[in-house]
Point group: C2
Chain length 453, copies 2
């Protein structure tokens, strides 16, 4: 019997040396971000208080390829290129003719894809002479990634962690502490914005929107400090394209190409990082490939939100972004995939959904934990609840293939492992996981209050 | 600038297809195990109540190479070959001329090297028609590995988990549950031995020795059930030699060979798995390579114990093994490296220490957590507290090189990640880690009561 390959590996010399910028190839660019005060398009100078010049350039660049600095590549090589797996045991368990591949980003020392952008963000800030980065984190994946990246480049790091996660996920905080970061439960008394909220509501459990407001305020007030965001923005998504670029090379090694590409989608960086290099083939070469963003039905931004200008945070400090949104005041139910609990989405992803290049599907909590457990029992890896949305979508597509007798090729990204999410699995095993069926009224409630531009 | 390689990878086709059996090359074999009742050397029939024939054969085999079944290789390919890293950033931080390499076993879905033997043990039991495996686990690494391996081969799995760990490390238990195992806090009321202990001492916190007694009793009483051990025995160590065999191939790819090989050592399987393929070169080819077993100074079996016959468990159900021991009643302080809290050691490792082929060093808790944190900040990976002993030893040797201005090559195995050990790191960051300086009286106390043979 000839041995069947399970992992498709690339050598370090095969690691991409350039990121792919989809702005070069989109049929329609998203409308520009607007200044929160004037509501006029923002210019580079509006961002320079909190971002370094190189990232501002990348945010608006329309160059197709952008070089990855050697210093960033050096850190990437701690875990990149990441492996692509053929999920042979899962295919067998599903009894599907589909070929299922997954790109595994949990091999990063941060445990997720987030480090792909944390490293260049820390690097460009270091080059600009910045001493400290401030950021927000929800479940903690992004906070861990930025903490590590800052340590690697000798920067200090301050993380505003959503208070409820700070209390419920102490281990994620411990990891940030190991890497030397300062972590505050948000709302905190470190910022004007935090103090104001605490005054009115001392028991406020926090939200991503509040934590963003705190981090942005911290960065804006301290000249040696910048702000870093883990998703949504164009430069973040640019950095994540290493995922899809590698995956394409890896599939070529086994002479395969996906019919369907899947990623879980909150702010959009993991999905876009996976899908955009394939979107290139669809847009430029006319390839017939379906690109599916898998989101939680409890926070159905792409499937039930509205394409509109909205703020990125709760306080209205950030520029207005043109994106699918549920409204900045929408408070998603407390699902276990904390990384997907965001009211908005990447403007690039939003535009491509609007233009029919990308499709979106929503999945409930019971379904995603069932899928994740089946995956773990066959492939060994316990997925992060966020990543479980992609697993669930891939299984659904594989079962459609089985029904139709079609041997399609399915690729998804497993964006991170779930080893710091085990209390969620414990709840699932104890049948204590809840599904949230949001009514149309609940969903449209906040859409009526979107900012006028 | 030419890019410096960080990870040395092997393709799946380069994965070893045979395990290395050091019994073929040892100058002196360890004295044979004795029956706990008769105190005469045990024969295969004495073991057949709890082990399958193939493992009993491997236990006593003196064949140098033993084929790895294709079914086992298929599962190994989910994570093997594991990467070998050049720790360039750590070298720089230490400012040492030494070249430091580490073999990383934390990439296994179980998070540690334990899966290397769990998989063949489950496989051989499955082939023998066994339906269920019973085992003990301390900190939980072994329980997770066996749970996964049993799931892969469709076996049921019962884990007796040391009660104090069961309560303190609920997440490890959750992982076992995800993989479908039944987990009991030991001492439990599932066994005669457990009930007897609970009767006398209802608050007994459990120990590895007690849990072994329970698992062995369970297996012995149920014809469809066998017992599985995660370290110490010859067949376990045999399976772990994939680590060192791969590492040797990987070092050859960069034209290097270690002057010093280091592994952490509790029961000995990770250390031996790493070191024995290099011990082969030392014994057969006269290679000049130091092999260092790194153990906790709170449980200094090799550095302060006695080479003698002793029981493997507390109740005296197991055969008597000829090994370095601190006495079966020695209760090691509650250090965070739970996997290294064992009174005895592998008879093969013990014999080679006695014969001067292997050396041993002991390290305290503060030192190993300091080393682990330095490692994490530079290499990104948070080591398991057990593995941190190897990190600490490697750093010590690298600093000796710096002092001497010698560019030695140091190889160590990072046997697992510490993502399920974060409460221990939290204690360390809060300065609540204790060092245990055992007096000679404490150490020799139980050595006086070793069984007479």
């Amino acid at each position: 019997m000839s041995k069947q390959i399970t992992k498709i590996l690339l050598n370090e010399s095969e690691m991409p040396t350039r990121w792919y910028n989809i702005q070069a190839d989109m049929p329609n660019l998203p409308k520009p971000p607007l200044h929160p005060g004037t509501r006029k398009p923002i210019g580079p100078q509006d961002l320079s208080a909190i971002f370094p010049d190189e990232l501002i350039k990348q945010e608006v660049s329309q160059e197709r390829w952008i070089d990855i600095p050697e210093e960033v590549q050096e850190i990437y090589r701690l875990w990149r290129p990441s492996p692509l797996y053929r999920a042979r045991r899962l295919e067998k368990a599903l009894d599907t003719p589909a070929r299922i591949y997954y790109k595994y980003e949990g091999v990063s020392p941060a445990g997720s894809h987030k480090l792909n952008t944390a490293v260049p963000q820390a690097y460009y800030n270091k080059m600009q002479g910045i001493k400290r980065l401030a950021t927000e984190t929800g479940a903690g994946q992004w906070g861990i990634a930025l903490s590590q990246a800052c340590t690697f480049f000798g920067l200090a790091c301050t993380v505003y962690m959503v208070k409820i996660s700070y209390q419920q996920k102490p281990y994620r905080r411990t990891v940030m502490n190991i890497f030397g970061s300062e972590v505050f439960a948000s709302p905190s008394n470190q910022t004007e914005c935090g103090r104001k909220i605490l005054e009115q509501d001392p028991g406020n459990p926090g939200s991503l929107g509040i934590a963003i407001s705190e981090a942005v305020e911290d960065a804006a007030l301290h000249p040696d400090t910048n702000y870093a965001l883990g998703s949504v923005l164009n430069h973040v998504i640019l950095h994540q394209t290493v995922i899809g670029l590698e995956a394409k090379e890896q599939m070529a090694k086994v002479n395969d190409y996906p019919d369907i590409v899947i990623g879980c989608c909150g702010g959009g960086s993991n999905f876009a990082g996976t899908a955009f290099p394939f979107a290139h083939d669809k847009l430029v070469d006319g390839k017939n490939v379906r690109l599916i963003a898998a989101e939680p039905s409890a926070c159905p931004t792409l499937t039930k939100g509205k394409l509109s200008y909205d703020f990125g945070d709760v306080s209205g400090l950030t520029p207005l972004l043109y994106m699918y949104t549920l409204g900045k005041d929408f408070m998603p139910p407390g699902i276990h995939a904390g990384g997907l609990r965001y009211h908005g989405d990447s403007p690039l992803v939003s535009q491509l959904v609007h233009d029919g290049i990308i499709e979106a599907k929503a999945f409930g909590q019971t379904a995603i934990f069932n899928a994740a457990t089946l995956f773990a029992k066959n492939e060994g890896i316990i997925p992060a609840p966020e990543s479980a949305h992609a697993v669930c979508c891939a299984i659904e597509e594989a079962l459609i293939c089985k029904e139709a007798g079609e041997a399609k090729t399915i690729l998804f990204t497993l964006s991170g492992h779930g080893l710091l999410d085990l209390p969620s699995y414990e709840k699932f095993l104890d049948n204590k996981i809840q599904d949230y069926n949001l009514s149309d009224e609940e969903i449209t409630k906040y859409l009526k209050n979107l900012p006028q531009v």
